[in-house]
C-alpha cells in the first residue's frame, strides 16, 4: 500500500432537491479492492461518475491517480476503466467492432489493436461469436464483452459497477478471478460497487457503505463486522454434564441461548464481539470448565442489516451481563 489513488474531500452532488452524494470523505489506496455498498439510489454510480470527471460535483473535490477529474478528465480516463451498470454496448454492431472502435477511442496503439481485441475476445470466451451482432448475445455474454471493453487499454484502476449482476456462477467466478488477478498480480486498484455481500466479503480489502448519499461505515469487512454486529453467535464447548449448569447460569442473566447439544456445545446468540470475554468470566466463575470458544464470524450481510436495522433487533447480551 502506497499513495492513495482516490481522495474525495467533501464530495457532493445534488440533482434539484435530491442529494445523491453528500459530503463524501474517502481515501482508497493503490492496489486495494475497495467495495462500495449501499441500497438502490444510495449514490454509488453518481460517485463513480464524479471520480471519472464525467459529472460535475456540486460540492467538494476529488483527486484520482493524482489528477483532478474535472480538470484532467481525458488524461485520467486513459488510466481508468469503467464498467457501467448497463453494458452500454452497440447492439447493432458485432462484438469485434464494439471492441475495435473503443480501442481507438482509448488510444490503444494502432498496431496492437487487433491482437488486443483477439486476446480479450478469447479471454472472455467470446471469440466464436465475435462477428455476430451484440443484439443477439445473452445477458452474460454482453456483460463479458463490456468487461473486455473496460480492459482494452490496460487501465491501472478499475471502476466496476455491479460487474456480476446477471452472471451465472461460473461467469461470476471468472470476474472474481479477473479482479483478484488484476490487483494481486498487477497492483491495480479496483473500486467495486456491488449488492452482492458475499462477493464483497470475499474480494474487498475494505468496504464503504453508503446510505442516502452518506458514507455510514468504512473499514475492512471483518473490522466492520466486529464493530457493528450485535447479534453474533458464539459457541462454548463445555463438559456435557456441565451443560445444564452453564445454561442456568447464562439464562439466569437473561442471555439468549440456543439448543444445548449433548456434545457439550452451547450457542449464545445476540452477542457482541467485545462481550465474549465477559461470557468466559461468567462461566469460569461458576466453576464450569471451557474447552473452546468459537465466535461465528459475522458476515458483511450481518453488517449491512445491522446498519440498516432491518433484522429484528435481538437482545444485546453484553448489556445484560454488565
Amino acid at each position: 500500500m502506497t499513495d492513495p489513488v482516490i481522495v474525495a474531500s467533501g464530495l457532493g452532488r445534488r440533482f434539484g432537491e435530491t442529494v445523491a452524494v453528500d459530503q463524501l470523505e474517502l481515501t482508497v489506496q493503490a492496489g486495494e479492492v475497495f467495495g462500495f455498498l449501499g441500497h438502490n439510489g444510495a449514490g454509488k454510480t453518481t460517485t463513480i461518475r464524479m471520480l471519472n470527471g464525467i459529472l460535475t460535483p456540486t460540492n467538494g473535490s476529488s483527486r484520482v491517480l493524482g489528477l483532478d477529474p474535472m480538470a484532467d478528465g481525458p488524461h485520467l480516463r486513459t488510466r481508468t476503466g469503467v464498467l457501467t451498470e448497463t453494458p452500454s454496448l452497440d447492439e447493432r454492431l458485432t462484438g469485434r467492432d464494439n471492441l475495435a472502435i473503443y480501442a481507438d477511442l482509448y488510444r490503444v496503439p494502432k498496431d496492437a489493436v487487433k491482437a488486443r481485441v483477439d486476446e480479450l475476445l478469447t479471454g472472455f470466451d467470446l471469440y466464436e461469436r465475435a462477428d455476430d451482432k451484440v443484439g443477439g448475445y445473452s445477458k452474460g455474454m454482453k456483460q463479458r464483452l463490456a468487461l473486455a471493453r473496460t480492459l482494452l487499454h490496460k487501465p491501472e484502476m478499475l471502476f466496476l459497477d455491479e460487474p456480476t449482476a446477471g452472471l451465472d456462477p461460473v461467469a461470476a467466478r471468472q470476474v472474481h478471478d479477473m479482479i483478484v488477478q488484476s490487483t494481486r498480480q498487477q497492483g491495480h486498484t479496483v473500486f467495486l460497487c456491488t449488492h452482492n455481500l458475499v462477493e464483497a466479503q470475499r474480494l474487498c480489502d475494505r468496504v464503504g457503505v453508503m446510505e442516502h448519499g452518506k458514507l455510514v461505515a468504512l473499514g475492512a469487512p471483518r473490522d466492520l463486522a466486529r464493530q457493528l454486529v450485535t447479534n453474533l453467535t458464539v459457541d462454548f464447548e463445555v463438559d456435557a454434564e456441565a451443560v445444564p449448569a452453564a445454561l442456568q447460569e447464562l439464562e439466569g442473566k437473561g442471555i439468549t441461548t440456543s439448543v444445548a447439544q449433548q456434545t457439550g456445545t452451547i450457542s449464545v446468540r445476540g452477542a457482541t464481539h467485545s462481550a465474549i470475554p465477559d461470557f468466559v468470566n461468567l462461566l469460569v466463575g461458576a466453576g464450569i470448565r471451557i474447552y473452546g470458544v468459537t465466535p461465528q464470524e459475522p458476515t458483511l450481510e450481518d453488517v449491512y442489516f445491522a446498519l440498516h436495522g432491518e433484522q429484528p433487533v435481538q437482545r444485546n447480551s453484553a448489556e445484560v451481563i454488565q
Binding site: P74, R77, L93, L105, R107
Partner: protein
C-alpha cells in the same frame, strides 16, 4: 483534436445509423426519387405525348417573376417547361437532400445514442467534449454532403439525357447549380445538423427527434412555393445570399448547441 478518435466515432455512428431503416429511407430513397424518378417521369412522359403549347407557355410566363421570365424568353414551350422545371423548380428541392440526410443521421447519433443507452460508455472514454461533438457533427455532415454531390452528378446526367432531344445544349452542370451544390447545400446540411442538436436536448426518442427535426424542411417548401407564386426565383445572387443566411443561422445554432454539449449535462440528462 485526436483525429483517430473522431474517425472512430464516425465509423461507429455510420455503421449503427445505416442499420436504422428510418435513416436509410431519406438517404437512399429521397435522392433516388428526386434525382432520377422525377426528372425521368416529367420529361419522358410529356415528350411522348407531345404536349406543351403556346398557351401553356403564356400561363407559365404570367406566373413567374420577371427575372425568371427573361431566362425563358426565346425558348419553345417544351424547352421553357424543361428549363423551368429542371433548373429552377428542382433547385430548392435539391436542398432537401442535404438537409434531411444530416438531420436524420444527427437524430440517430444524438438522440438514438441516448435511447439505446450507449452514450454512457462513450462518455467514459478519454475523448474530450469537443472531440465527441466534432465526431458526431462530421458523422452527419460528411454523408449529407457526399450524398448531395453524388446526387448533383447523377441528376446532371439524368436531366441532360432526358432533355437531350429537346435542348440545343446541355443544361447541367451550370453556374447556378454549382453555387447551390458547393455553397448552399453544405450550409443546408449544417442547418439539418444544428437544428437537430437543439431538438436533441429535449427529444426522448429517435422518432420524436425525427418528427420534430424534419420541420426544418418548411423554409425550403416556402422557397418552392415562392418561386411558383412568382415572388422570387433562384438565380445566382439568391443562391449566394441564401447560402450566407444559412451559414449564419448554422453558426448561431451551433453556438447554442455547443453550450448544451457537455459531458456532465449529457450524463445528467440520460
Amino acid at each position: 483534436m485526436n483525429w483517430r478518435a473522431i474517425q472512430a466515432l464516425m465509423r461507429k455512428d455510420l455503421k449503427v445509423v445505416l442499420q436504422n431503416k428510418g435513416v436509410v429511407i431519406p438517404i437512399v430513397l429521397l435522392p433516388l426519387i428526386l434525382f432520377i424518378v422525377i426528372p425521368g417521369l416529367v420529361l419522358f412522359i410529356p415528350s411522348a405525348t407531345s404536349s406543351a403549347n403556346n398557351n401553356d407557355l403564356a400561363q407559365l410566363m404570367a406566373m413567374v417573376t420577371p427575372g425568371l421570365r427573361d431566362q425563358l424568353v426565346g425558348l419553345t414551350p417544351d424547352q421553357a417547361g424543361a428549363v423551368f422545371f429542371l433548373v429552377y423548380m428542382m433547385a430548392p428541392l435539391f436542398l432537401i437532400v442535404p438537409l434531411m440526410v444530416s438531420n436524420v443521421i444527427a437524430a440517430d447519433s444524438f438522440v438514438g445514442e441516448r435511447e439505446r443507452k450507449t452514450l454512457e460508455a462513450l462518455l467514459y472514454t478519454p475523448t474530450t467534449d469537443g472531440e465527441l461533438l466534432v465526431g458526431k457533427m462530421l458523422s452527419a455532415l460528411v454523408p449529407a454532403i457526399i450524398v448531395s454531390w453524388a446526387g448533383y452528378v447523377l441528376y446532371s446526367v439524368v436531366a441532360d439525357l432526358a432533355s437531350a432531344q429537346l435542348m440545343e445544349r446541355a443544361l447541367f452542370p451550370n453556374p447556378l447549380w454549382n453555387v447551390i451544390a458547393l455553397w448552399v447545400a453544405p450550409a443546408a446540411a449544417g442547418l439539418g445538423l444544428t437544428s437537430m442538436m437543439l431538438v436533441s436536448v429535449r427529444a426522448k426518442t429517435f422518432q420524436d427527434a425525427y418528427q420534430t427535426g424534419s420541420l426544418v424542411v418548411l423554409p425550403i417548401v416556402l422557397l418552392l412555393i415562392g418561386q411558383i407564386a412568382g415572388v422570387l426565383y433562384f438565380n445566382i445572387w439568391l443562391a449566394l445570399g441564401l447560402g450566407l443566411v444559412l451559414w449564419i443561422i448554422d453558426a448561431v445554432l451551433l453556438f447554442y448547441g455547443r453550450q448544451t454539449f457537455h459531458r456532465s449535462e449529457l450524463i445528467a440528462r440520460l
